[in-house]
Amino acid sequence: MANKFRYPTGVRPLLVEEAARRKQIEARFAGRLESDGFDEVFLPIIDYVEPYVQLHRGDASKQSYRFIDREGELVAIRSDFTPMVARALAPAIAEGDLPLRIFYRGDVIRVEATRLGANREMFQIGAEIIGDPTVQADVDVLRLAADLARAAGATPVIVYNDASIANTLGDDARQALVSKRIARDGSLPELAVRILDGTATLNDVREFAPLAADRLDAIAQGAGSECLLQLDDVDAAAGYYTGIHFRVYDADTRKRIAEGGRYDDLYARFGTAAAAIGFTFTIE
């Protein structure tokens, strides 16, 4: 090991001052969430890999510490909260309880040989509303995310889109939107080109994805001015998002500080069908 001061990748102790700072941030987030009627749940720091296998995008599973336990099962140290919440809550949800407002917090540890540096321990705090499929829930969650970002001292810019739109455009168009490099030779749908150029409107989208377009329209009316619809904010893989998908940036540092969205199919995978929307803040 050579060095007696080192800690494993992704973790380190927080001594008195840093711990106090962390506690202050936690208190600010937790206080706001509790006063909004969110109840906290505690999630385990390790869990089996298998229940989440179909949810992982690409090589995400390699980002976490993984090992084989005494029973021969593959276990990972927590590196993402949202699916864990669903797995923990789904068996316990009774229909009468819905909607539920839940929040959670804790360290996530990533081991990935990240590109260009960045190997720090991370603390996450997140919230979700389970069992409320309405536009109002979408809007509430956007507002809550903005408020929390402000409470943390950031100037939030929330970029949102609907994760279902990219599915209607085909794989080539999705890839083009992901890389932002569009072949302008007519081989791609015109809508994709216009989305990338920033000239597409929700009316253009409506033809291909009427439900998503209407939903985004309704969200736009309720969302605060820090929220920007960006139709070209598309991921390489769908992940578990089924509707709105958003990222919160801090305009001052241009860094992403939170991510969230609607994942109405996730709870069903763990045994209890329930709409859900939530977000997670990541604090380094």
Partner: protein
């Protein structure tokens, strides 16, 4: 103010010409003759860095945009957006060896990550020897049987009496944009992209007879 990273190497002139064609006020020859590496011109901070460092600056958000070869983008596993691909400065990443070389078991290169992916993709189990320069010499001096390197004209390959065995990748320069700035300064970035794209298309039409 926007900060744009320009590669100091073989792509320097064309890169500046492109930004100039797009209407940007770029540093001129007098500027470049100084040892300075940072210039403010027309509301843009132009920084001149080594070719291989452009993706680093953009990835970390220390530059908003830049021009980088695909070789450096891949080698740094850079996640920046690449909205425009240029027609100048194209070349190929090649697998090179002496005539009659034995099967590939050791390869020298300045691009170890690209080499690893190439070898893995062909199920070739070989050691990679990272070098800093004069890569072809490695094959001449039998440090390794093969080298992987960028080939523009093929002159270096000929001089060293080596031969090309395979194309590893087609390399082109790209405009790259950081992910954070793309999302939070969408309007200004889209404007930059469309100006560069137009300048590229204009130059394309000029070249066509």
């Amino acid at each position: 103010m926007m900060r744009i990273a320009i590669p100091k190497g073989r792509l320097l002139e064309k890169s500046l010409a492109t930004f100039a064609a797009a209407g940007y006020d770029v540093p001129d020859e007098t500027d470049l003759a100084t040892r300075k590496l940072v210039f403010n011109r027309g509301g843009v901070e132009w920084i001149f860095v080594k070719d291989c460092d452009v993706p680093v600056y953009v990835e970390h958000g220390a530059a908003d945009a830049g021009i980088a070869g695909l070789d450096q983008i891949l080698e740094h596993d850079c996640t920046a957006y690449q909205p425009v691909e240029f027609d100048f400065g194209r070349c190929k990443m090649m697998l090179i060896a002496a005539p009659g070389a034995p099967p590939l078991t050791k390869v020298a290169t300045k691009y170890p990550r690209i080499a690893r992916q190439y070898l893995d993709g062909r199920s070739i189990r070989a050691d990679i020897v990272p070098l800093g320069g004069s890569v072809e010499l490695a094959a001449v001096l039998n440090l390794t049987s093969h080298v992987i390197d960028l080939v523009e004209t093929g002159e270096t390959v000929r001089v060293h009496k080596l031969e090309i065995q395979d194309v590893v990748a087609e390399i082109s320069p790209r405009l790259i944009i950081g992910r954070g700035v793309y999302r939070t300064e969408t309007k200004r970035i889209r404007d930059l992209i469309s100006r560069i794209e137009e300048a590229k298309n204009a130059s394309l039409q000029i070249q066509l007879p």
